[in-house]
């Protein structure tokens, strides 16, 4: 097996490069099921509560689209069902990691240096797959252990963990195949994510046609769910579904699919030249159009793909959340205890508004990721040396930075407002109050923007003043997510929760967002941004 020589060394290299990412992935994805178990046990303490919830949820088409079909009403089955998005998350992370360590390395030219050493032709691919497979196994282990410790049946907990891992393995292999097809890592990611999206869509169509009672028979198109890797792994029924037994052999099928795809990737990889893809690179125009003459035009070229992806993604999320909003009142209507809880949380303006505020706060934190990504394009341009070419021309630093920052400011704003608009329109149309719901949803989206601006401005301040510390901006976002998603359940001190700018934009139970904190956040963002720009004007470029 000389073609695999050096796999161990390359695996260690990949682990070294991902030493922050992998533990976060394994831990975060691994503990989500147990957090679901805790919240279900809290909200639906009795078997009767759970049966009622399951009956309503099984009728809700949007829930079926998001999570899959509900197979029963035990706590375990609710957790496995609600965690139905985890195979998609694992699949996405796995394909990204595999492409990062294969095609992206090759495109950057680093693979060439490695390839000239005593390392086998397939070692890079093998190492990437070892890392992705191992991370999924680690995630499964964390899930199985913490769910068992929580008191859920051990066999079922192992199966829940393996469900996500099996999807991860299949999509790691999909990523490996995609990485062989194109010369550009971006295009490979596009293909693999497209396969993931198609699998999800097939699973949605396959699951939607069936019975509306938990564990009832599937519809005529159920075969689509079996064909889809996402649907396939959900057919394990970890806590013994409708037939009364979990379907272990599904893992055999999933492993077979993964192995077959890996074999395809290895065969393609053995056949092609280093740096080349199987799909050819198209030629571009021999000269630039007359409009392509300013840093703004260049920034548009560099940012437009990202902008389009976020805008489309947020419009779709608006569609999903808007249609879920229609079901919120149904769900609660069946459960007096829950209605009381929600009424307390929702305050005077009602349940749906509380839901919208929660959803928009979550979207705000997600879109802050886009804002940070767009700001850090500046750093990527600097480190790659491309900024030097622009700054050695008659383009000053401020103008160069502004050309990118326009996208960091307007992109998230457009995505956020669009998500609010779509949510409001979809929900309003169903509820017969388009005007009111749209205004409320857009308002709920808009108040998140000052908090988004603070995180983007922090990234800019780091870029200008301490460019080596740019990862801190991602750490800040992770901190906000942690405080926002789990902080409220942990009874943390107010002082700590208040550190997150999103605490001040999310409507507190029974109240409305005060204007003063928004103004303060705006001023804070402006100060950080100004400090970053001043720092940028004074420092060396590039700063290694």
């Amino acid at each position: 097996m000389t073609s695999l020589r050096g796999t161990g060394a390359l695996t260690r290299l990949a682990l070294r490069r991902d030493r922050v990412l992998l533990p976060i992935w394994i831990y975060t994805v691994g503990i989500i099921p147990v957090s679901l178990a805790v919240s279900f046990a809290h909200l639906y303490p009795t078997a009767a509560d759970r049966t009622g919830f399951a009956a309503t949820s099984a009728r809700n088409g949007t829930f079926t689209a998001l999570y899959g079909r509900l197979s029963g009403s035990s706590l375990g089955e609710l957790v496995a069902w609600r965690g139905g998005f985890l195979p998609i998350v694992s699949g996405l992370l796995s394909l990204l990691v595999v492409i990062r360590h294969t095609r992206a390395e090759e495109e950057a030219g680093r693979r060439e240096l490695i390839g000239s050493t005593a390392v086998g032709r397939q070692a890079g691919l093998a190492a990437a797959l070892v890392v992705a497979f191992g991370a999924n196994l680690g995630t499964a282990l964390v899930t199985a252990v913490v769910l068992s410790l929580r008191g859920l049946p051990v066999a079922g907990s192992v199966a829940v963990g393996l469900e996500g891992a099996a999807a991860g393995w299949i999509f790691a292999a999909v990523g490996a195949v995609a990485a062989q097809l194109t010369a550009a890592a971006g295009a490979a990611r596009g293909i693999a994510v497209g396969v993931l999206a198609a699998s999800w869509a097939a699973r949605i169509v396959g699951d939607r046609g069936g019975s509306v009672t938990p564990g009832g028979p599937g519809g005529a198109l159920e075969w689509l769910s079996w064909v889809s890797p996402i649907g396939l792994v959900q057919r394990v029924h970890p806590y013994a579904g409708p037939s009364g037994a979990r379907v272990w052999w599904v893992f055999g099928v999933a492993a077979g699919v993964a192995v077959a795809l890996v074999a395809v990737a290895a065969a393609l990889s053995a056949r092609r030249d280093l740096g080349a893809g199987l799909l050819g690179d198209r030629l571009g125009p021999p000269a630039a159009s007359s409009a392509f003459r300013s840093p703004w035009a260049l920034a548009w070229r560099l940012h437009r793909g990202l902008l389009a992806a976020w805008v489309v993604g947020f419009a779709l999320l608006g569609l999903v959340f808007g249609s879920v909003a229609n079901g919120v009142t149904d769900l609660v209507g069946d459960n007096p205890g829950l209605r009381e809880t929600f009424a307390r949380l929702g305050g005077r303006q009602g349940l749906v508004d509380a839901y919208l505020a929660t959803v928009m706060s979550l979207l705000g934190m997600i879109v802050a990721g886009y804002a940070i990504q767009a700001v850090l394009r500046l750093r990527a341009e600097e480190v790659s040396g491309r900024a030097e070419a622009v700054l050695a021309s008659a383009v000053g630093r401020s103008r160069w930075a502004a050309s990118h920052l326009v996208f960091a400011a307007l992109g998230p704003t457009v995505a956020m407002l669009l998500a609010g608009t779509v949510t409001g329109l979809v929900h309003g149309a169903a509820a017969g109050r388009v005007g009111r719901e749209t205004t409320h949803a857009v308002g709920a989206a808009a108040v998140e923007l000052p908090a988004v601006a603070v995180l983007a401005a922090l990234a800019l301040a780091l870029f200008g003043l301490a460019p080596r510390l740019w990862p801190v901006s991602w750490g800040a976002l992770a901190g906000c997510l942690l405080l926002g998603v789990v902080g409220s359940g942990l009874n943390l001190s107010h002082w700590l929760v208040d550190v997150s700018p999103f605490t001040h934009t999310t409507r507190p139970p029974g109240g409305s967002v005060a204007a003063t904190p928004l103004v303060v956040l705006g001023l804070l963002a402006a100060t950080l941004a100004a400090a970053g720009l001043v720092g940028l004007r004074r420092r060396d470029l590039p700063t290694a």
Binding site: E107, G284, P286, A287, A288, F292, E388, A389, A392, P542
Partner: protein, 310 residues
């Protein structure tokens, strides 16, 4: 204004590393100036300071009459820069990158662009991601050479080019000189290239200028190697002993009736007089190549040696 570039006592430190340590550089308007030094000597750092991308900790840098840091953007309209390691936007075609870089500087000559693409044999339709290092360098060179600017700053511009393209590059630079007398600062460690193109050079080492001046002058100030075959009747041993007694004669060796030595310019006349007195059958004398100048500087750890008064 006769100096296109003037740098005095530039100092630049990165943490504990002193990248530039009192570097001086003067480039006259209209000349092709060679900027020589081994890897890590501080050539690229100097260029970045001259471009106002980095700020010197001490010293002054003046480019085209303006202050390099303060007037950077305005100066960049009048100069073009080719970095040592050209990186391009992977999804732009070569042609788009050339046009963009040219336009960001204030425009480029379309006829010259077409001519250069042809001479450098570059396909402008290929996406930048598929270009080799040499092709990326050609993109930056075409964009720089086709720009209407007074000063070209080229950082090891031929390091990725094949010998044919290197020759083409030299040809183009010579034409530039003949046609409109543009100033060129050519950083390089390829001595033959500098020797072929530059009348004046600056040699740096460890962030410090060790030698600057015209090549002729430098040759004049350094040793010439001499091989003399004495006539059969001459007393080789005595002549050699006499030569050895002269200050400025080095590396002397005598073998049969052949004497070889190196001699400083100042000792050339007495040395030749001794040879003439002894009787010479054949004589070969060779001026030092740039390579010898270069090696001579580095062998001596950058301290100005006795034979090279500044």
């Amino acid at each position: 204004m006769s100096d296109a570039i003037r740098a005095d006592g530039l100092v630049k430190t990165f943490g504990a590393t002193r990248a530039l340590d009192g570097l001086d550089l003067t480039v006259r308007v209209g000349e092709v100036h060679g900027f020589l030094g081994p890897n890590g000597a501080g050539k690229s750092t100097t260029l970045r300071i001259l471009l106002g991308l980095m700020r010197a900790d001490a010293g002054r840098a003046t480019v085209l009459g303006g202050e390099a840091w303060r007037d950077a953007t305005a100066l960049h309209r009048r100069l073009a820069y080719v970095p040592g390691d050209v990186t391009l936007w992977p999804n732009l075609s070569g042609g788009e990158a050339i046009d963009l870089l040219g336009r960001l500087r204030g425009g480029l000559d379309p006829r010259r662009r077409a001519e250069l693409l042809d001479r450098f044999d570059l396909d402008p339709r290929r996406k930048a991601r598929s270009y080799s290092k040499g092709n990326r360098q050609k993109v930056a060179l075409v964009a720089a050479l086709a720009s209407n600017v007074e000063l070209l700053m080229l950082d090891e511009p031929t390091s990725g080019l094949d010998p044919l393209m290197e020759e083409q590059f030299r040809e183009v630079i010579r034409e530039e000189q003949r046609r409109d007398g543009r100033t060129v600062l050519l950083s390089s460690h390829i001595l033959a290239e500098v020797e072929a193109l530059c009348a004046r050079v600056t040699i740096i080492r460890g962030g410090r200028t060790v030698e600057a001046g015209s090549l002729d002058e430098m040759r004049h100030l350094t040793r010439t190697s001499v091989t003399a075959d004495l006539t059969a009747t001459a007393d080789t041993a005595a002549t050699a002993a006499g030569l050895a007694g002269l200050s400025g004669v080095h590396a002397l060796s005598a073998d049969g009736d052949r004497i070889t030595f190196e001699v400083d310019a100042g000792a050339l006349t007495p040395a030749l007089a001794r040879l003439a007195a002894a009787g010479v059958r054949g004589l070969v004398s060779r001026p030092p190549t740039l390579e010898e100048l270069f090696l001579g500087r580095y062998d001596r750890g950058g301290d100005a040696p006795a034979w090279a008064p500044r």
